[in-house]
Symmetry: C2
Subunit: 353 residues, 2 copies
């Protein structure tokens, strides 16, 4: 495959790790990275090490806490921390910008794919950002690592716009949805009817906690007592209290993860047959449970069986999000170059059920 | 996805099961099926139940035993059994033909995809059959369920011919290689370097034995004492003796399964890091061991871990071959319609590593 240039919007945990992992991937050149305060661009490839050093300590949750209202004009991921301006602009490769996302859009001709590494704290933030790329005549790949089922429909509503623009939008391309959705779609191949998909994840996030506060906040929004809006209003102290109440271990059941609609739209099973839950331990790096996908179905010869996919306990959440995100990004570019536009979920990029 | 028409070459175990499974798949219409003695064609869709009843008892191993020499001109899968002519021609939908494959080629305009359900008893049989489709100006998808690593290179040698013809060739699209190769490619996404892929399968083939003698013969060719040529020469009695010697349970190590080169060509790992083995029990339907893929690698943050994919013990070999074969076929048609021609392995049709 020919060289692929890509941009990262957001330099919180996911954006920074995507840049880091891309150094290990053949044919992937990061040419742009931005957060709300600035943008770095180098058509020959960014100096990732320098950029990572400059953005160390970015906390995407603080973006979520204070960046909710005016979100369509500023790229997210940069933070104010301890009164000090941090973020991309601390890098020698970057410069301040009033509208960093627009600058990326304006140089879209040089960018094959854009990873939206933005916490999806307003449920329409990703779709609205996509609209800006359409309006800016971007023709390429957009990839997100969103989680919420309701967002997929909002993207599907834009499918014709994407097709007209020449945009291939790959949604839900992280771990779950993403890697695990793909595993479910593949495991489904043994069956003529899938009756249950059960995704259960474990994440140990002690040393990665600071870097992934946005993810923790997003997870808290899945607890029965909270939703996206109330979780966004929580102060850091309130989040700490929620964690303390649970001795650092938060269990989730029946999460609104988009695996359900992504599997349904790929024809694998009904959304209601998909269950996602998990356990987050923010005081241990060891996973509290093994991340497992169980796909149960009926074979053509009448048997009922369960195929199982397990992630090794030693793989971090970051490894399981960013590897797949870049893998799906590469696949998206291949689809885009072949002239396939519109909205694609992880399961759409695997063998058809 | 729009309607897909497909043909099956060969009505042994794999061909017949593919027809059967296709009845459960959306948008797949079988329009042609042939074996060495005849061809059935119906542009509106074959009557699969009638065809299955007519071809019941076809034993693809007997094709292997007596069909080796003149193989390029006759479709395989029909058999002489107990002195009686059986096969496609026993179906009311079929008629005898001197050259059934050529008849399928000649109607290629009406066929989106062709499943080569032919035992690969001569290692160049599949490539030579593909040549006939190129020569006959077929432009569509060819899918095989071959096993041998050495065949992939022969197909790659024809890549330019396929591209010029507009043929998308999906190779190794059964269980292993196929489903399990895909699982390995997906499981690899957590890692920046894959160090080991270990595939270990279990097959219980008591009730399916008669229908899958060709597969058993092909497996025996993987034993250290045999190769493709010597296994082809074995009489049925000699095969029975081999099975008896092992009390019905045959263990295989370091098999020449194409998972290795298919993963290497997709950039997942080196071929030499892939190991395939398994246990075949022809006297029990229960699997003698759980079919498992273990992918070990290093994450970007320096951990070593193993992701695991397990097939439920209740899924038959047939379910695990034919579901994926048709899934890959559908994906191949999508690639073909997008103008992507050449040779694709299972791992090429998944997110890029």
């Amino acid at each position: 495959m020919d060289e692929i240039t890509f941009a990262v919007l957001g330099t919180g945990g996911i954006g920074r790790r995507a840049l880091e992992v891309s150094q290990h991937k053949d044919a992937l050149t990061p040419v742009a990275a931005c957060d709300r305060h600035g943008v770095a661009f180098d058509g020959d490839g960014l100096d990732v090490d320098e950029l990572l050093a400059a953005t160390e300590g970015n906390i995407d949750s603080e973006v979520a806490a204070d960046g909710g209202s005016g979100g369509t004009t500023a790229a997210e991921g940069g933070v104010k921390q301890h009164g000090q301006q941090r973020g991309v602009v601390a890098s020698s490769q970057a410069r301040p910008s009033e509208d960093p996302i627009q600058e990326v859009i304006d140089r879209g001709d040089e960018i094959d794919a854009v990873l939206l590494a933005l916490p999806n704290y307003e449920h329409d933030f990703i779709p609205r950002t996509a609209d800006r790329f359409v309006d800016g005549d971007y023709a390429g790949v957009l990839v997100d690592v969103l989680k919420r089922s309701r967002v997929i429909g909002m993207l599907d509503d834009r499918s014709e716009d994407f097709e007209a623009a020449g945009i291939t939008f790959v949604c839900g391309a992280g771990a779950t949805p993403g890697l695990l959705t793909g595993a479910a779609a593949l495991a489904a191949q043994s069956f003529v009817e899938v009756t249950d998909v059960d995704i259960h994840w474990g994440v140990g996030l002690k040393s990665g906690y600071e870097d992934n506060r946005g993810t923790v906040r997003e997870d808290i929004a899945h607890l029965p007592e909270y939703d996206i809006e109330t979780a966004r209003e929580l102060s850091e102290a309130e989040i700490e209290a929620i964690i303390d109440d649970r001795d650092g271990v938060i269990e989730f059941e029946d999460m609104e993860h988009a695996d359900d609609v992504l599997l349904e739209r790929a024809g694998v099973c009904d959304a209601e047959d998909v269950t996602v839950g998990g356990i987050l331990d923010v005081r241990n790096d060891e996973k509290p449970t093994t991340t497992t996908v169980r796909v149960t179905g009926r074979t053509f010869d009448g048997e009922t069986a369960t195929n199982t996919f397990e992630l090794g306990d030693e793989t971090s959440m970051e490894a399981n999000v960013n590897g797949p995100a870049l893998g799906y990004l590469k696949t998206g570019v291949r689809r885009n170059r072949a002239g396939e536009y519109g909205v694609f979920g992880p399961a759409d990029l695997l063998p058809g059920f």
